[in-house]
Protein backbone atom coordinates (compact mmCIF):
# COMPACT_ATOMS: atom_id res chain seq x y z
CA UNK A 1 0.00 0.00 0.00
CA UNK A 2 1.39 3.37 -1.01
CA UNK A 3 0.42 6.71 0.53
CA UNK A 4 -0.04 9.29 -2.25
CA UNK A 5 -1.39 12.28 -0.26
CA UNK A 6 -0.97 13.09 3.43
CA UNK A 7 -1.98 16.50 4.71
CA UNK A 8 -4.31 18.27 7.14
CA UNK A 9 -8.04 18.39 6.34
CA UNK A 10 -10.41 20.74 8.17
CA UNK A 11 -14.12 19.92 8.13
CA UNK A 12 -16.07 23.05 9.02
CA UNK A 13 -19.37 24.86 8.79
CA UNK A 14 -17.38 28.09 8.31
CA UNK A 15 -15.69 27.26 5.03
CA UNK A 16 -15.28 30.80 3.71
CA UNK A 17 -13.60 32.01 6.90
CA UNK A 18 -11.25 29.00 7.06
CA UNK A 19 -10.36 29.27 3.36
CA UNK A 20 -9.62 32.99 3.87
CA UNK A 21 -7.08 32.18 6.62
CA UNK A 22 -5.15 29.92 4.28
CA UNK A 23 -5.42 32.37 1.38
CA UNK A 24 -3.88 35.00 3.65
CA UNK A 25 -1.09 32.50 4.41
CA UNK A 26 -0.39 32.18 0.67
CA UNK A 27 -2.43 29.09 -0.25
CA UNK A 28 -4.55 29.08 -3.42
CA UNK A 29 -7.57 26.94 -4.27
CA UNK A 30 -6.71 24.18 -6.76
CA UNK A 31 -9.90 22.23 -7.25
CA UNK A 32 -13.30 22.02 -5.70
CA UNK A 33 -15.08 18.63 -5.66
CA UNK A 34 -18.69 18.41 -4.45
CA UNK A 35 -21.01 15.48 -3.82
CA UNK A 36 -23.06 13.50 -1.36
CA UNK A 37 -21.60 11.21 1.30
CA UNK A 38 -22.71 7.63 1.91
CA UNK A 39 -24.81 8.84 4.84
CA UNK A 40 -26.57 11.53 2.78
CA UNK A 41 -24.65 14.68 3.67
CA UNK A 42 -23.85 17.03 0.82
CA UNK A 43 -20.27 18.27 0.90
CA UNK A 44 -18.03 20.85 -0.75
CA UNK A 45 -14.25 20.56 -0.53
CA UNK A 46 -11.44 22.94 -1.44
CA UNK A 47 -7.96 21.61 -2.06
CA UNK A 48 -5.40 24.36 -1.47
CA UNK A 49 -1.68 24.52 -2.23
CA UNK A 50 1.00 27.08 -1.36
CA UNK A 51 4.11 28.11 -3.28
CA UNK A 52 6.24 25.60 -1.36
CA UNK A 53 4.02 22.67 -2.32
CA UNK A 54 2.25 22.29 1.02
CA UNK A 55 -1.39 21.17 0.89
CA UNK A 56 -4.46 21.66 3.04
CA UNK A 57 -8.04 20.58 2.37
CA UNK A 58 -11.01 22.53 3.70
CA UNK A 59 -14.40 20.81 3.49
CA UNK A 60 -17.88 21.72 4.55
CA UNK A 61 -20.97 19.54 4.73
CA UNK A 62 -24.63 19.79 5.59
CA UNK A 63 -23.98 17.78 8.76
CA UNK A 64 -24.38 20.00 11.86
CA UNK A 65 -21.06 20.63 13.61
CA UNK A 66 -20.36 22.69 16.74
CA UNK A 67 -16.57 22.81 16.26
CA UNK A 68 -14.28 22.20 13.28
CA UNK A 69 -12.89 18.71 12.85
CA UNK A 70 -9.20 18.56 11.99
CA UNK A 71 -8.25 15.24 10.47
CA UNK A 72 -5.56 13.71 8.26
CA UNK A 73 -6.34 13.42 4.56
CA UNK A 74 -4.57 10.22 3.49
CA UNK A 75 -4.86 9.05 -0.10
CA UNK A 76 -3.69 5.53 -0.83
CA UNK A 77 -3.39 3.29 -3.86
CA UNK A 78 -5.40 0.47 -2.22
CA UNK A 79 -8.41 1.58 -0.16
CA UNK A 80 -9.48 -1.91 0.91
CA UNK A 81 -6.02 -2.86 2.16
CA UNK A 82 -5.67 0.40 4.12
CA UNK A 83 -9.20 0.05 5.55
CA UNK A 84 -8.40 -3.46 6.74
CA UNK A 85 -5.04 -2.29 8.13
CA UNK A 86 -6.64 0.50 10.19
CA UNK A 87 -9.71 -1.40 11.41
CA UNK A 88 -7.45 -4.28 12.48
CA UNK A 89 -5.70 -1.73 14.74
CA UNK A 90 -8.92 -0.61 16.39
CA UNK A 91 -10.00 2.23 14.09
CA UNK A 92 -13.78 2.65 13.76
CA UNK A 93 -15.76 3.95 10.79
CA UNK A 94 -17.40 7.31 11.59
CA UNK A 95 -19.99 6.78 8.83
CA UNK A 96 -21.79 3.88 10.53
CA UNK A 97 -19.67 1.37 8.64
CA UNK A 98 -20.40 2.83 5.21
CA UNK A 99 -17.96 4.02 2.55
CA UNK A 100 -18.67 6.96 0.24
CA UNK A 101 -18.17 5.77 -3.35
CA UNK A 102 -18.59 8.46 -6.00
CA UNK A 103 -17.32 6.37 -8.88
CA UNK A 104 -14.16 8.44 -9.03
CA UNK A 105 -13.20 7.98 -5.36
CA UNK A 106 -13.82 5.83 -2.30
CA UNK A 107 -13.59 7.55 1.07
CA UNK A 108 -14.47 7.39 4.74
CA UNK A 109 -13.33 8.83 8.06
CA UNK A 110 -11.87 6.36 10.56
CA UNK A 111 -11.23 7.10 14.26
CA UNK A 112 -8.34 5.65 16.23
CA UNK A 113 -8.95 4.21 19.71
CA UNK A 114 -7.29 7.31 21.24
CA UNK A 115 -9.39 9.72 19.20
CA UNK A 116 -7.50 11.06 16.19
CA UNK A 117 -8.91 10.42 12.76
CA UNK A 118 -7.85 9.68 9.22
CA UNK A 119 -9.91 10.53 6.13
CA UNK A 120 -8.99 7.57 3.96
CA UNK A 121 -9.34 8.09 0.19
CA UNK A 122 -8.55 6.21 -2.98
CA UNK A 123 -9.03 7.87 -6.33
CA UNK A 124 -10.32 5.50 -9.02
CA UNK A 125 -8.39 6.16 -12.21
CA UNK A 126 -10.57 4.43 -14.78
CA UNK A 127 -13.96 5.76 -13.76
CA UNK A 128 -16.51 6.88 -16.37
Amino acid sequence: MKITSFNPLIVTNNVEEVVSVFEALGFVKKHNPTGTSAIGHEYVAYRMTDANGFHVDVATSTAPRERDLTTIRMNVDDFDEAYEFLTARGFSNAQSGTVTDTGSAKACILYSPSGFSINLIQHIKDHN
Partner: protein, 135 residues
Amino acid sequence: MERGITTVKITTFNPQIITNHLAEVVGLFEALGFEKRHTPSGTGASGNAYTDCRMKDANGFYVDVAATSAAIPRDITSIRMNVDDFDAAYQLLTDHGFKPSNGTSATETDTSKGLLMVSPSGFGIVLVKHIRKEN
Protein backbone atom coordinates in the same frame (compact mmCIF):
# COMPACT_ATOMS: atom_id res chain seq x y z
CA MET B 1 -8.60 45.36 10.86
CA GLU B 2 -6.18 44.73 7.99
CA ARG B 3 -6.02 41.11 6.89
CA GLY B 4 -3.80 41.19 3.83
CA ILE B 5 -1.64 38.51 2.26
CA THR B 6 1.36 37.67 4.39
CA THR B 7 5.00 37.65 3.45
CA VAL B 8 5.61 34.95 6.04
CA LYS B 9 7.29 31.89 4.57
CA ILE B 10 5.95 28.52 5.67
CA THR B 11 8.78 26.00 6.03
CA THR B 12 6.88 23.05 7.51
CA PHE B 13 3.18 22.20 7.20
CA ASN B 14 1.84 18.81 8.27
CA PRO B 15 -0.59 17.10 10.66
CA GLN B 16 0.33 16.98 14.35
CA ILE B 17 -1.35 14.67 16.85
CA ILE B 18 -1.25 15.55 20.56
CA THR B 19 -1.88 12.46 22.65
CA ASN B 20 -1.49 10.68 25.97
CA HIS B 21 -0.77 7.49 23.96
CA LEU B 22 2.55 8.27 22.29
CA ALA B 23 3.85 4.72 21.83
CA GLU B 24 0.56 3.49 20.37
CA VAL B 25 0.22 6.35 17.86
CA VAL B 26 3.91 6.23 16.87
CA GLY B 27 3.58 2.47 16.42
CA LEU B 28 0.71 2.95 14.02
CA PHE B 29 2.63 5.37 11.81
CA GLU B 30 5.69 3.11 11.89
CA ALA B 31 3.45 0.33 10.57
CA LEU B 32 2.33 2.72 7.80
CA GLY B 33 5.98 3.22 6.79
CA PHE B 34 6.92 6.36 8.73
CA GLU B 35 10.23 6.54 10.61
CA LYS B 36 11.17 8.62 13.63
CA ARG B 37 13.45 11.53 12.69
CA HIS B 38 14.01 13.32 15.96
CA THR B 39 12.29 13.51 19.32
CA PRO B 40 12.75 16.77 21.23
CA SER B 41 11.29 17.00 24.73
CA GLY B 42 10.92 19.68 27.38
CA THR B 43 8.46 21.62 29.47
CA GLY B 44 5.88 23.91 27.87
CA ALA B 45 4.99 27.44 29.01
CA SER B 46 1.93 25.91 30.68
CA GLY B 47 4.23 23.75 32.84
CA ASN B 48 3.30 20.49 31.12
CA ALA B 49 6.09 18.19 29.97
CA TYR B 50 6.06 17.26 26.28
CA THR B 51 7.80 14.89 23.89
CA ASP B 52 7.47 15.56 20.16
CA CYS B 53 8.24 12.69 17.82
CA ARG B 54 8.73 13.90 14.23
CA MET B 55 8.18 11.18 11.63
CA LYS B 56 8.69 10.94 7.87
CA ASP B 57 7.78 8.34 5.25
CA ALA B 58 9.55 7.30 2.06
CA ASN B 59 7.45 9.71 -0.04
CA GLY B 60 8.48 12.72 2.03
CA PHE B 61 5.26 13.04 4.05
CA TYR B 62 5.60 14.16 7.67
CA VAL B 63 3.56 13.73 10.84
CA ASP B 64 4.36 14.96 14.34
CA VAL B 65 3.16 12.96 17.33
CA ALA B 66 3.41 14.91 20.57
CA ALA B 67 2.91 13.49 24.04
CA THR B 68 1.81 15.82 26.80
CA SER B 69 1.69 15.28 30.56
CA ALA B 70 -1.62 17.17 30.59
CA ALA B 71 -4.54 14.75 30.75
CA ILE B 72 -6.59 15.00 27.54
CA PRO B 73 -9.69 12.84 27.07
CA ARG B 74 -9.18 12.45 23.30
CA ASP B 75 -6.25 13.04 20.97
CA ILE B 76 -6.05 16.54 19.48
CA THR B 77 -5.22 16.83 15.79
CA SER B 78 -3.80 20.15 14.67
CA ILE B 79 -1.57 21.60 11.96
CA ARG B 80 2.15 21.90 12.63
CA MET B 81 3.25 25.07 10.83
CA ASN B 82 6.84 26.26 10.98
CA VAL B 83 7.45 29.79 9.74
CA ASP B 84 10.39 32.12 9.24
CA ASP B 85 8.73 34.98 11.17
CA PHE B 86 6.86 33.94 14.31
CA ASP B 87 5.61 37.41 15.21
CA ALA B 88 4.21 38.15 11.73
CA ALA B 89 2.44 34.78 11.62
CA TYR B 90 1.10 35.30 15.15
CA GLN B 91 -0.28 38.68 14.10
CA LEU B 92 -1.90 37.23 10.97
CA LEU B 93 -3.61 34.50 12.98
CA THR B 94 -4.79 36.84 15.74
CA ASP B 95 -6.17 39.17 13.04
CA HIS B 96 -8.29 36.17 11.97
CA GLY B 97 -9.52 35.63 15.53
CA PHE B 98 -7.12 32.88 16.60
CA LYS B 99 -6.28 32.73 20.31
CA PRO B 100 -3.51 30.90 22.17
CA SER B 101 -4.73 27.55 23.49
CA ASN B 102 -5.81 27.86 27.12
CA GLY B 103 -4.44 31.38 27.15
CA THR B 104 -0.87 30.16 27.42
CA SER B 105 2.10 32.08 26.09
CA ALA B 106 4.66 30.69 23.64
CA THR B 107 7.06 27.99 24.74
CA GLU B 108 10.62 29.19 24.11
CA THR B 109 13.68 26.97 24.15
CA ASP B 110 17.25 27.57 22.96
CA THR B 111 16.24 26.30 19.52
CA SER B 112 12.59 27.14 18.96
CA LYS B 113 9.50 29.14 19.85
CA GLY B 114 6.12 27.42 19.65
CA LEU B 115 2.47 28.02 20.47
CA LEU B 116 -0.81 26.21 19.78
CA MET B 117 -3.36 28.71 18.46
CA VAL B 118 -7.04 27.93 17.96
CA SER B 119 -9.34 29.50 15.35
CA PRO B 120 -12.81 30.90 16.21
CA SER B 121 -14.41 27.83 14.62
CA GLY B 122 -12.17 25.42 16.49
CA PHE B 123 -9.23 24.19 14.42
CA GLY B 124 -5.71 24.53 15.73
CA ILE B 125 -2.32 25.51 14.35
CA VAL B 126 0.89 24.77 16.24
CA LEU B 127 2.95 27.80 15.23
CA VAL B 128 6.70 27.16 15.44
CA LYS B 129 9.83 29.05 14.56
CA HIS B 130 13.24 27.44 14.82
CA ILE B 131 15.93 29.71 16.19
CA ARG B 132 19.38 29.45 14.67
CA LYS B 133 22.18 29.59 17.17
CA GLU B 134 24.79 32.22 16.42
CA ASN B 135 27.51 30.37 18.35
